[in-house]
């Protein structure tokens, strides 16, 4: 094991956030690949609500798409991710821009952007669709709500022996904040109903730190074995239970086994210094909901703990669903900003500024922190990671097309970084949207999720079922009522060629 090093420049840059310096020095001597695992792949999904940023502002210019390829029945395009630099700011698009000291050329080289990925039906407002449970939606068609119930990909990874092996040193299989994650009631055996996973912690960054790095037993006697025996006593006793009762007891026993595993797990790194600042310092302020600076600072504190967790390996999966607005707007964000952005210039301006701030202060902040961790073999933690930012909708709120993916990291050489890929079928578009910008049909979200699983080394045998469609989830539903435009008023719009390609790694992405 070699000792990781931080350049002064890196520390200064991170120190500019005012947040990282307190713990990084203590982290340095013990972190880097203490795990000595053959792989240290990490998956981080950040997700913001609504979306609704127009193509022209979300994505790089079309002119940067210098290559094309016939694929799945239409032409897909790519090009190197090009940034312009002016007045101390590096700019990839109106949203993807930051001071050049933060969005460095090196970081642009590790960044990539995907356009033209669609969920093939009306999504309304949803939570689960981002990671594969399309049923977790307020307004999706009933068919989707009833039959699109699937565990999310983070949970497939979390319980896959291919990802964690024996989960040695893993204190939390996945760090979850928000309502994006769903798993079977018995996630290990993937049995039972799919249920909301819930947040890993309820509280502050310090609570999460304590959960990941604190004494697992809290100095208490270990009685998990006796607790399990109590459930087995009931489960296997001779008093009447329904078969469903027994299944639920089995599920509980599985979770007790997971608790027992965590109680007996020792982190495989030197315990870092506990963050001295609590995110509660910001979130508990009554003005927090309309204080974008406080929101940014709070998220930066969480990013610190995520970085520690990923570098140490106490967890290698993070799913963070942000609900903050990153704006000073004090009214009903949902109705007055998100829903009106396509028809109101001022609402759109507010929405755009919020997304730009999130990119810089949260997404890029985390990417920079991961980049700052030297893994001791010439790589940075970011190189081992797929760090992705997704949004609830595409270019309009409720729009299921072209939901953007902005990513950093190569997932240990799986992804070719520093590029912009556009999978839209420019010959097949919907009617014009309310802001005058059309929507196009592209490739499927299933293909993106399947690509992610493959990038994390999860064998297809663990997640793919082609009885309905390849890719993930194995749920084929294609109907776009009210959105398809005059050419396709309703009904299926994605050709078989697109569905059939859904099991492949998205074009251009492999190294």
């Amino acid at each position: 094991m070699s000792t990781p090093t931080f350049s002064r420049r890196t520390i200064l840059r991170l120190g500019g956030t005012g947040l990282v310096l307190p713990f990084l020095p203590s982290l340095l001597p013990a972190t880097a690949r203490a795990q000595s695992a053959p792989s240290h792949k990490c998956f981080v999904m950040l997700r913001t609500e609504h979306g609704g940023i127009l193509q022209r502002d979300m994505f790089p210019p079309d002119a940067s798409l210098t290559e094309s390829l016939p694929y799945a029945g239409h032409t897909v395009r790519r090009g190197a991710l090009r940034a312009t630099e002016a007045n101390g700011e590096t700019r990839v698009s109106a949203v993807l821009r930051a001071p050049s000291s933060e969005l460095t050329a090196s970081m642009v080289g590790k960044m990539w952007v995907l356009n033209g990925l669609d969920i093939p039906f009306y999504i309304g407002h949803h939570r689960g669709g981002t990671l594969g449970n399309f049923s977790a939606s307020d307004q999706a068609p009933d068919e989707v709500k009833q039959n699109g119930i699937r565990q999310t990909i983070d949970q497939i990874m979390a319980w896959s022996p291919s990802f964690y092996g024996g989960a040695v040193g893993v204190r939390e299989r996945a760090i979850i904040r928000g309502s994006l994650s769903f798993a079977h009631s018995d996630p290990r055996l993937r049995q039972g109903p799919v249920e909301r996973v819930g947040s890993t912690v309820d509280g502050s960054n310090q609570n999460l730190f304590d959960r990941l790095f604190g004494n697992a037993t809290g100095g208490q006697p270990l009685i998990s074995g006796a607790v399990m025996e109590n459930y087995r006593r009931l489960r296997n006793g001779n008093r009447r239970l329904s078969s469903a009762d027994r299944r639920r007891l089995d599920d509980h026993l599985e979770r007790l086994a997971e608790l027992d595993r965590k109680l007996n797990t020792v982190a495989r790194c030197q315990t870092p210094v506990r963050p001295t600042t609590s995110s509660g310092q910001y979130t508990n302020q009554p003005t927090y909901p309309r204080d974008p600076e406080a929101q940014s600072l709070s998220h930066e504190l969480w990013n610190d703990v995520y970085t520690l967790a990923l570098s140490c390996g106490v967890s290698r999966i993070v799913v963070d669903g942000a609900t903050d607005t990153f704006s000073t707007f004090a009214g009903d964000w949902h109705q007055e900003i998100a829903h009106q952005a396509a028809s109101s210039a001022s609402a759109y301006s507010t929405l755009l500024a919020a997304h730009q701030l999130y990119f810089r202060r949260v997404f890029l902040d985390l990417a920079s922190k991961l980049e700052a961790v030297d893994m001791g073999d010439g790589t940075r933690l970011l190189d081992h990671t797929l760090l992705a930012w997704g949004q609830e909708s595409g270019n309009y709120t409720h729009d299921h097309t072209s939901a953007p993916i902005v990513a950093f990291g190569g997932a240990e050489g799986f992804f070719r970084t520093g590029q912009y890929c556009d999978y839209r079928n420019l010959a097949k578009r919907t009617g014009e949207g309310p802001a005058g910008e059309p929507r196009w049909f592209g490739l499927l979200w299933h293909q993106w999720l399947g690509t992610v699983l493959q990038s994390m080394g999860i064998p297809r045998s663990e997640w793919e079922d082609t009885s309905q469609c390849p890719g993930y989830p194995n749920y084929k539903y294609d109907d776009v009522p009210g959105w398809a435009g005059p050419e396709n008023p309703t009904g299926p719009v994605y050709p078989a060629t697109v569905w059939n390609a859904a099991g492949e790694v998205l074009p251009f992405l492999r190294v």
Binding site: D202, A244, H252, D332, G482
Partner: protein, 585 residues
């Protein structure tokens, strides 16, 4: 019954017409549409949720009551104030409202039966910490185990621990503890029997036991196929958690111990006692709040400082608590009615103002209510009941929301399914206008063209328009003040409330007040049918099956339609055989 069947038929026709008009909308099963009741239906227990877990509220209440019964209120309170205990309790996962399939809104917290890893992790940590707080205090050990735990003799320690296991287990496991139980919990303790660690381990094991976290039911030995009547203690638990959200009290437990609860008279006596007790009010308030979707109300103080909102609110300054005060009024209404033989219909028509706080009293223009004496009645004649309570009118902004008001009445109060709006409609905002009333803005946006009028003109807007004589803070008005973007009042227009609500298809009667609409609602029978569905879901924590659960739904609806007291109606579900049985297939 004939009238109700006719109503259902008419609703089916209306639904079909609307669907045909829209062309691409499946509005699903219409409200109230169920097969006619079977004559003398067999007493089949409804399909059960397996091994229901305690809701978050029930979990907290139970821990509090176990400790209170074991230690006394003062010590229990001290234990719950312990820092880590309080923090862990705070971290226990909150339940979410779970809408029924096909709906986007509504639902009940009890229907959230998902079990998260955090439920297990936190209950484990909490059990150990509570056990530690109890065990390490000699005085608390004395309270729990008796003097045998603190005397000089060790000869009695074994019996001391056994007695503690039996007594504490009787509370935590909510049933008598048998010899096998005592042996199990005793075997888990390797430390001296009266030691701090022994107490901690027993307490922790019991607070993580399946019988503590779940409703474990085995039924009586005799079974009709897979269906069995619950045991006395299982019945006691069902009753207690249904009405009180917590464990059985001593009287109920005693009725279970004696077997009195298994007699018809004894059971009825306990049901009436429970539903009449003040502890039932929390559950009643929870039921009605969730049925009426009061959680959807926005905060009221976030727009203070906005020029239009400031001009609109005038001298009224909302605080961070205003929202809760407004919602609490509905719970107070239900509580009051339950204690005064009110009916379900009275929930709609009662005109008492339950304004405990100055902000609410100010908006209503009534004196504050002290919470005990006869509440004042509304002074404004237009304030006719539930639909004119602030919880049903206010929006947290300067603008009313007629569409949302109409949707809530149709969808929540009357259980009529409304298809989601087309996607592009969501981009359309009902803006405050400097020239038009909100009603006029809504009419222009939704009643003129496209597919909007199919739902808005007949189903949504009218039920919202009829209360447009109340502003967005729920204050009565005859005219709407019009503001420019700087908050300057630039005009005033008379508000119109005349409309044709068409609660049932083909009904062309026009109305002009909330009282008129309330009367039509009461005549329709839809409200009582909807109540039956909602209360079924609340009671059994699952979605009803029209076929299998028809007898329960009809009985509930009939009790409500028959204008039985609210208490009797709510109690009636517990008197149903379905409540008292379990299918163990």
């Amino acid at each position: 019954m004939q009238q109700r069947r006719l109503t259902r038929t008419l609703v089916v026709v209306a639904a079909a017409l609307v669907a045909a008009c829209k062309g691409d909308v499946d509005i699903g099963a219409p409200p109230g549409e169920r097969p006619p009741p079977i004559e003398n239906p067999p007493p089949v227990a409804p399909e059960e949720l397996p091994l229901r877990r305690l809701s978050a509220v029930q979990y907290r209440n139970t821990l509090r009551d176990v400790l209170t019964r074991a230690l006394g209120a003062t010590e229990a309170s001290a234990v719950l104030r312990d820092g880590p205990v309080a923090e862990l309790l705070q971290s226990y996962p909150q339940d979410l409202l779970v809408p029924v399939p096909g709906e986007s809104h509504g639902g009940f917290l009890r229907m959230d039966q998902g079990v998260q890893q955090r439920h297990i992790d936190i209950s484990y940590s909490l059990g150990l910490r509570v056990g530690e707080v109890l065990g390490t205090s000699a005085s608390r050990r004395g309270l729990l185990l008796g003097t045998c735990a603190t005397d000089a003799s060790t000869a009695n320690d074994e019996a001391c621990l056994g007695g503690f296991i039996s007594r504490f287990g009787r509370l935590a496991l909510r049933r008598p503890v048998d010899a096998d139980d005592v042996a199990f919990y005793r075997a888990a303790v390797s430390e001296p029997p009266a030691s701090a660690l022994a107490v901690q381990k027993v307490v922790a094991l019991m607070l993580t036991a399946p019988e503590f976290l779940y409703f474990v039911e085995h039924g009586q030995p005799e079974a009709d196929g897979t269906v069995s009547r619950l045991t006395a203690h299982e019945l006691a638990v069902r009753l207690s958690y249904h009405f009180w959200q917590t464990m059985p009290d001593e009287a109920l437990a005693a009725a279970a111990d004696s077997g009195e609860l298994l007699t018809e008279d004894g059971y009825r006596e306990q049901v009436e006692r429970l539903v009449g007790d003040a502890r039932a009010h929390q559950a009643m308030g929870e039921f009605f709040s969730q049925w009426f979707r009061l959680d959807a109300l926005e905060e009221f103080n976030t727009r203070v400082g906005d020029p239009i909102f400031d001009a609109f609110r005038g001298g009224f300054t909302p605080t961070g608590d205003t929202r809760e005060h407004i919602n609490a009024e509905v719970a107070d209404l239900v509580t009051w009615l339950a204690a005064h033989d009110g009916t379900l219909q009275d929930v709609l028509t009662d005109r008492h103002a339950f304004a405990r706080t100055a902000d609410l009293a100010s908006l209503y223009g009534v004196p504050r209510w002290d919470g005990d004496s006869e509440p004042p009645t509304f002074l404004e004649s237009q304030r006719s009941g539930l639909l004119t309570r602030i919880a049903f009118l206010a929006t947290g902004s300067a603008n009313t929301r007629p569409i949302i008001k109409g949707y809530r009445i149709r969808n929540a109060l009357l259980c009529e399914r409304i298809p989601p709006p087309p996607a592009d409609a969501m981009m359309t905002r009902v803006e405050l206008s400097a020239e038009l009333t909100t009603r006029e803005v809504v009419e222009r946006l939704t009643e003129g063209q496209g597919s909007c009028p199919a739902c808005h003109r007949t189903r949504l807007n009218p039920l919202g328009f009829v209360t447009e004589n109340f502003d967005a803070l729920g204050r009565f008005r005859s005219a709407q003040r019009l503001f420019d973007s700087n908050g300057q009042q630039v005009g005033e227009r008379t508000v119109r409330t005349d409309t044709v609500p068409a609660l049932t298809p083909g009904d062309t009667r026009s109305v002009s007040s909330a009282a008129d609409v309330t009367q039509l609602i009461l005549e329709s029978g839809l409200y009582e049918d909807c109540f039956a569905r909602q209360y079924f879901r609340y009671t059994f924590a699952r979605v009803e099956s029209d076929e299998a659960d028809g007898p329960v739904l009809d009985a509930l609806s009939a009790a409500a339609s028959g204008r039985q007291s609210l208490r009797d109606v709510l109690a009636s579900v517990a008197l149903r055989p379905e409540f008292q049985r379990r299918d163990f297939r």
